[in-house]
C-alpha cells in the first residue's frame, strides 16, 4: 500500500504531500483503494494548514483514483477546496484528469447545495398514525 510522504514549509505555512510510491518503478495509481490513505492525509493536513500542495511528479493516475482522492473533499468543501489545494509535478495526462474530476465534482456539489436549499428549514414534522 503506498504511504503518503508529507512535508511542511514554515516560510509559506503550506503543507505538501507527494502522491506516489517510493518504489522507484514506473507506476499508475489506478484503483480507488490506493487513493484512500492519500485522501486521509490530505484531510488531516487541511485541518492544520491553510494550503496543501499535492505533488504528482513521477506518477500516472486514473480518473477513479483522482475521484477517490479528491471527490469527497470537493463534495464537502465546494470551490473553497480549490483555494486551498495546489498541484505540482503534473503530467499533461494528470492535469487533464484532475480538471475533469474537479469540475465534475464541483458541479455535483452545486447540485447538492440546491437540493438542500429546496428543503424548508422550518418544515413541520407530522408523525405517521399508529397502526391499528
Amino acid at each position: 500500500m503506498p504511504k503518503p510522504q508529507i512535508g511542511t514549509s514554515r516560510k509559506t505555512m503550506s503543507c505538501s504531500l507527494a502522491i506516489g510510491l517510493d518504489t522507484g518503478a514506473a507506476n499508475v495509481l489506478g484503483t480507488r483503494y490506493s487513493a484512500i490513505d492519500f485522501r486521509e492525509s490530505i484531510e488531516r493536513q487541511l485541518e492544520s494548514c491553510p494550503s496543501v500542495e499535492l505533488n504528482f511528479a513521477g506518477v500516472f493516475v486514473t480518473q477513479s483514483f483522482v475521484d477517490e482522492l479528491l471527490g469527497p473533499l470537493i463534495l464537502r468543501m465546494g470551490a473553497s477546496a480549490l483555494e486551498r489545494l495546489a498541484f505540482s509535478g503534473c503530467s499533461d495526462e494528470a492535469k487533464a484528469i484532475l480538471r475533469l474530476v474537479i469540475a465534475a465534482r464541483l458541479r455535483d456539489h452545486s447540485a447538492r447545495q440546491e437540493s438542500r436549499a429546496a428543503v424548508p428549514v422550518n418544515c413541520v414534522y407530522y408523525p405517521l398514525p399508529e397502526s391499528p
Binding site: A26, N27, T31, E53, F60, S64, F87, L100, R112, R116
Partner: protein, 320 residues
C-alpha cells in the same frame, strides 16, 4: 468429460460460455479434455479459469487433461490456477500457440500492483516501448503504451472488485489476462469475474431503472452513471461513473474495441455508434475484453478524451 475445442476465441465467446455452463452442470469429477486446444484468447481463458476456480471453491474435483507440454508448463507459470487444480499432459509436444500473461487478483490491496505488473510485462514486449519504460520515472511525459494499458487494467480491476464482489459475492474470482500479437500490433486484454454482474449492481436504485442485462451493461458505460453514485441530500456520492466510459474511449481511439458479457448479454462497444448486441449463454458476473492497436495507441490523447466529459474546462486550478 467436457471437451475443449481447438480455438477459444473472444469472437466466439458464446461458444466458450456454453462450455463453462457445461462444466457447471457436469457431474463430479469435472474433467476438461484439452487435447485439441491450440489457442485460448484472454477473455476465453479467464472465463474458463474463473469457472474452474468456482468449481473448486465449492469443493468439486477438477482436472484438465490432454494439455500439450508447452501449454501445461505455461499455465503452471501463470498465477491464475489454484495449486490443487490437476493438470495432466497429453501426447502432444506441440500445439499451443501464443504467450499469455495472466494473474488472479486476490484483494483490493493487490489490485493496483497486479494491474501495473501485467501492463509492464506487455509493454516490455513491444520493442519501441522498452526504453520508454525504463525512462518513465525520470520523464513522465514520455508517451508509452504502459500508461494506457495500466490505466485500463487498474480501472477494470477496480470495477471487478468494487462492483463484482458486491451484493454478497465477496469470494468471487477476478482473473486478468493479456496477449500481444506483434504482426498485427494488437494488444488484447481481459478482466473477468464471477461476481454479481452488471444487472444486480443497479438493483435498488430508484433513479436508474434497469430491467435487462443488456441495459445494465449499457448503463455501466454511460458517463456519470454508476451504481455507486448517489448525489443525495445526506449521503456522499461515491463514484463519478466515468471509469468504464473512459476505458471504452481509450480502446476506440486506438482503433480497438471493447466487448462485455454479463448475464445473458454480449455487447461490443457499448453506447458507441457501432455498438452490437447479442444474447449468450448465461455468465454470472462480468467479462470484459479490450483490444488496443498499435501504432494508434501511441497517439491517444487523454486531454481530448477527458474534455468530452468536463463540464468546465476553464476552471481555475492551481497547477504550479
Amino acid at each position: 468429460m467436457v471437451e475443449l475445442p481447438p480455438l477459444l476465441l473472444t469472437a466466439n465467446i458464446a461458444g466458450v460460455l456454453k462450455i463453462c455452463v457445461q462444466i457447471d452442470e457436469t457431474a463430479d469429477p469435472v474433467i476438461c479434455d484439452a487435447s485439441r486446444l491450440i489457442v485460448a484468447e484472454p477473455m476465453a481463458l479467464c472465463a474458463l479459469v474463473v469457472t474452474l476456480s468456482r468449481m473448486q471453491r465449492v469443493g468439486r474435483s477438477v482436472k484438465v487433461v490432454g494439455l500439450s507440454r508447452q501449454f501445461k508448463q505455461h499455465l503452471e507459470s501463470l498465477d491464475i490456477l489454484t495449486a490443487s487444480l490437476h493438470l495432466a499432459e497429453g501426447d502432444r509436444n506441440t500445439g499451443y500457440q501464443e504467450t499469455l500473461h495472466a494473474y488472479r487478483v486476490k484483494n483490493e490491496q493487490h489490485g493496483n500492483e497486479v494491474g501495473n505488473k501485467i501492463a509492464t510485462e506487455i509493454a516490455a514486449l513491444i520493442p519501441s516501448q522498452q526504453l520508454a519504460i525504463s525512462a518513465l520515472e525520470a520523464l513522465p511525459k514520455i508517451n508509452s503504451v504502459f500508461y494506457p494499458l495500466a490505466y485500463i487494467f487498474t480501472e477494470l480491476i477496480d470495477n471487478a472488485l468494487r462492483h463484482g464482489r458486491g451484493r454478497g459475492f465477496n469470494n468471487a474470482s477476478v482473473c486478468l489476462c493479456a496477449q500481444y500479437h506483434p504482426p498485427r500490433g494488437l494488444i488484447r486484454l481481459a478482466v473477468v469475474d464471477d461476481g454479481c454482474g452488471f444487472l444486480a449492481t443497479f438493483q435498488g436504485r430508484g433513479d436508474i431503472q434497469v430491467k435487462s442485462h443488456a441495459e445494465a451493461i449499457r448503463t455501466g458505460f454511460r458517463p456519470f452513471t454508476s451504481s455507486k453514485r448517489d448525489v443525495g441530500l445526506f449521503s456522499d456520492a461515491q463514484h463519478q461513473g466515468l471509469g468504464l466510459t473512459i476505458c471504452r474511449d481509450l480502446a476506440l481511439r486506438s482503433e480497438g474495441n471493447v466487448a462485455v458479457v454479463s448475464g445473458n448479454s454480449w455487447i461490443t462497444n457499448p453506447e458507441a455508434h457501432d455498438e452490437k448486441s447479442r444474447l449468450t449463454p448465461f455468465w454470472r458476473g462480468a467479462a470484459l475484453s479490450v483490444e488496443l492497436r498499435l501504432p494508434a495507441l501511441n497517439t491517444v490523447n487523454f486531454f481530448e478524451i477527458t474534455s468530452r466529459y468536463n463540464p468546465d474546462p476553464d476552471l481555475p486550478i492551481r497547477f504550479i
